[in-house]
Symmetry: C2
Subunit: 120 residues, 2 copies
DNA sequence: CAGGATCCCGTTAGATACTG
DNA sequence: CAGTATCTAACGGGATCCTG
């Protein structure tokens, strides 16, 4: 989502980061386990490719949601964890997820009702 | 965001709808005014094109967030308002927006700190 | 183990022009 | 007033292969 030249909107700025396909799911996983490694995450976040995991983690790191620690070992070990900022985001995020779970049926019903009214 | 064949995830399902560039801003506007007409919305939601407003409203209507009432008049009058489902969404949405407003600076700081560390 | 590089395609969103 | 149609550039995301 390319930001047009007008003033930076905080809402959109945050939504651009967490509105993609994977960010929320990664944050949710990290919210459960507190510290996770790369392949651990790729197993936990079902369906994600390594590339998207890598990209999304990097963006979350850039924006301060996630911290990344590299250990100088062989084989390499990299650990990801929520930062304080990331933790503070869990509250509103879980409220949103809870709402989504609770109203998913209504949304699906609305969709079928819509196609029944308007067709396709 | 094309849903892969595995089971429909409520979180992603909701996020696909409200995670785009305009939905949240439209819902926020409708949350303030309770009833709005098309051109009123296009003025209120700054920067949106008529086309994107039209498309996004239609999707929000399909998913039951927004109701649409057409009056058989000349010139035509169409009013948009939140449904009950839409209203129930305002709570978690505002929690998210408040978080975004409150932590926007930290995110921007994290970004500049990142480029200072890693470069570009 | 933890990624990066490349290719490729479907979707998104902007601009512009047109309509009932 | 309240939209729709078309065209196009940009982006997201999957698959595959390669590396330190």
């Amino acid at each position: 989502m390319a930001l047009p030249p007008w003033q930076p909107c905080p809402i959109r700025d945050v939504l651009d980061r967490i509105g993609d396909q994977w960010s929320l799911l990664i944050l949710e996983a990290l919210g459960r386990e507190s510290v996770m490694r790369f392949n651990e995450l790729s197993r936990e976040v079902e369906g994600i490719s390594r590339q998207m995991l890598s990209r999304t983690l990097k963006r979350l790191e850039q924006d301060g949601f996630v911290g990344r620690t590299v250990y100088a070992e062989v084989p390499p070990r990299v650990e990801y964890a929520l930062t304080e900022l990331g933790h503070s985001f869990l509250g509103p995020m879980r409220a949103l997820v809870a709402w989504a779970d609770g109203h998913h049926d209504q949304i699906r019903d609305a969709r079928t009702a819509y196609v029944a009214r308007e067709g396709s």
